[in-house]
């Protein structure tokens, strides 16, 4: 056995074989520590020539306790894991509310330009004028698309943008002597993050019921408005995939009562370029760049949730932001006291700004409107093809960017929404969103986005209809035993939640089982 200069033997494949079952195309991938072991090293490092005192007595005394793997072993492990993944790059991802649209490769090319990719947030601003110009241009597009007065680019996710917007509302109310307003109204069809945001800022949440058609009850909003209401948080289009038709009336009533209107912009992709939320009377709205503007998410990349603000809230936006001063661009880091201060350490997700602006510029204003209309058309196509078999909770109206079904069509079949979703995995599709929104029983929420072709939509609908027919024909085992063709079979979600195992322990160090 060859030894490296550290005294650890070198060699590839000295430990357990990498493939323990399945085939090389669908490996049952072991953990890194099961492939390598502590006794071997995958790299040759020279002897340490500095003496230990250089480290002030902090040199490691114990074993390093890492799996000794070579670069190819490590690379292959992660490539094999990635092949077990289902991704937007490998197939249709109809996860409602998440907007898994295609991430154009042009975005990636632009984000890798060294002027954007290789800069540091602490560089002198005179050396990053191009990056600042891009941020200013992105801010301009976001304010134009929403018809609002200001935007804070820095929030790093939708919920972070929500919090930033609600903090601006609170700051504005405190400045106006209205700090006693402690209630936030949240309709039942809102995103779950809305009540969570309000509650974590110390507001108490009052729920507003939905009407039978799935939209917000305007009269219930008016009845709930009182001098202690700070704001309403409303999602439009809502999580039932419906446009709130009376949103202007709601905004007027909210303002009349001295409260602010926070709009959850997670579904802005359905109306971008068609409706400007500022025209509807909203005061603050976050925009998920990772949904609407095609930047990667769901494990593929960090989120970004810029929040646009109305004239009334603009003075309270957080720092930093970009301003032109004496011909060049400057990053305003300290502004007047009314500003919120900082909500991120630096300037937000630069890479996502580049991707989002690339998407905007490559589409143009008319192209963005077309993308929104195509997303709505695709969702309505799915709804039209499925609604004679699947049950639609709010019939008689078109949907926006996502089609919502409930589980009443499965009644008596012994198949639940969960089983149905698992069976979809065996057919090669990522499942739709299940059991959300909560206002619908056994909900299935399907969002195809504008990315899918008619051929793909048809294949998806064919599979959905075939599954529904099979469920109704009494073939429940196909569903309750699914998935059978995925790398893992049905997981025990209950046990995973009740007694999760969160750390890996070496098999030789595990206590011997008593059974």
């Amino acid at each position: 056995m060859s030894m490296n200069t550290q005294g650890r033997p070198t060699g590839i494949g000295t430990a357990a074989p990498a493939v323990t079952s399945g085939s090389s195309l669908l490996p049952n991938e072991p953990l890194l520590f099961e492939i390598g072991d502590r006794e071997h090293s995958g790299v040759d490092l020279p002897d340490v020539e500095i003496d230990g005192s250089f480290l002030g007595g902090f040199e490691r005394q114990s074993e390093i306790d890492l799996a000794g793997l070579t670069e190819p072993e490590t690379l292959r492990h992660y490539v094999r894991l990635s092949r077990l993944n289902y991704s937007i790059d490998s197939g249709m991802y109809p996860l409602g509310s998440c907007t898994m649209k295609h991430n154009p490769r042009l975005n990636e090319k632009m984000a890798r330009l060294p002027g954007f990719a290789d800069i540091h947030p602490l560089q002198p601003v005179s050396t990053v004028q191009g990056a600042l110009a891009l941020m200013e241009e992105l801010a301009h597009w976001l304010m134009t698309l929403t018809n609002t007065a200001a935007v804070s680019l820095t929030p790093k996710a939708g919920a972070h943008g929500e919090m930033c917007g609600m903090m601006a509302i609170r700051a504005a109310q405190q400045a106006a002597g209205q700090g006693h307003r402690t209630v936030v109204l949240v309709p039942e069809s809102a995103h779950g993050t809305n009540p969570a945001t309000a509650a974590s800022l110390g507001y108490s949440v009052r729920s507003i019921p939905a009407r039978d058609d799935g939209t917000v009850d305007v009269e219930a909003v008016k009845a709930a408005l009182s001098p202690d209401v700070a704001a309403i948080m409303l999602t439009n289009p809502n999580t039932c995939g419906l446009f709130e038709p009376e949103i202007i009336e709601i905004a007027a009533a909210v303002h009349e009562a001295g409260a602010f209107f926070y709009c959850d912009g997670a579904n802005f992709n359905a109306i971008m370029g068609v409706v400007r939320p500022g025209d509807l009377g909203i005061d603050a709205m976050h925009i998920n760049l990772h949904k609407t503007f095609s930047t990667p998410h769901g494990g593929g990349g960090p989120g970004a949730g810029p929040v646009v603000l109305s004239e009334a809230l603009a003075p309270f936006a957080p720092v930093p932001f970009v301003r032109k001063s004496q011909g060049s661009l400057a990053l305003v880091e300290h502004a007047e006291a009314r500003h919120l201060g900082r909500i991120t350490a630096f300037n937000g997700q630069m890479g996502m700004y580049v991707r989002a602006l690339t998407y905007m510029l490559s589409h143009g204003g008319d192209g963005l409107a077309q993308a929104a209309k195509d997303a709505v058309l695709n969702a309505n196509y799915i709804k039209a093809r499925l609604e004679h078999v699947f049950s639609v909770p709010f019939p008689g109206q078109p949907c926006m960017h996502e089609a919502l079904f409930d589980d009443s069509f499965l009644e008596g079949s012994g198949v639940s929404t969960l089983d149905f979703a698992k069976a979809l995995i065996d057919e090669g599709f990522h499942p739709m969103t299940m059991y959300f929104p909560l206002v619908v029983h056994g909900a299935m929420l399907v969002e195809p986005t504008e990315s899918e072709s008619k051929q793909t939509l048809d294949r998806f609908c064919d599979v959905m209809l075939e599954l529904a027919a099979d469920a109704k024909a009494g073939n429940s085992p196909r569903f309750t035993s699914a998935p059978t063709k995925a790398p893992r079979r049905r997981l025990d979600e209950t046990r995973a939640a009740r007694s999760p195992v969160l750390t890996w322990e070496r098999p030789d160090e595990l206590p011997q089982a008593a059974e």
Binding site: Y435, L438, E493, T494, A497, R498
Partner: protein, 117 residues
């Protein structure tokens, strides 16, 4: 006499609060329960506890105003008691009622059975 709320909770004559068999079936396997504190004062409709299942997290509201006199600590180790025996071992907390007349506004067993039909 046990009374029921439209949120599918029950409260017994001695003030024991839990969720109904119908509610546990709709929620699916319960995986976590957040209990109120003994001595906590609640108004009718206040959020008292949270029950989390594999499908969703749901608030448990106080069916009437009162003070929490006991909580079912057994649920922290075994939340599944709510699934297996929601009306006995799966109780959640006990209330000393401020105003027993508040219970008159709740449903009796027959009215609740109609609601869940």
């Amino acid at each position: 006499m046990t009374k029921f709320t439209k949120d599918h909770e029950y409260i017994t004559a001695d003030g024991t609060v839990g969720i109904t068999p119908y509610a546990q079936e709709q929620l699916g396997d319960i995986v976590y329960v957040e209990l109120p504190k003994v001595g906590q004062k609640l108004k009718q409709g206040d959020e008292a506890a949270v029950v989390e299942s594999v499908k969703a997290a749901s608030e448990i509201y106080a069916p009437a105003s009162g003070t929490v006199t006991a909580v079912n600590d057994g649920l922290s180790g075994e939340p599944g008691l709510i699934n297996s025996t929601p009306e006995t071992d799966g109780w959640i907390f006990k209330l000393a009622l401020d105003n027993p007349a508040e219970l008159d506004g709740l449903m009796d067993a027959d009215a609740y059975a109609k609601l869940t039909e």
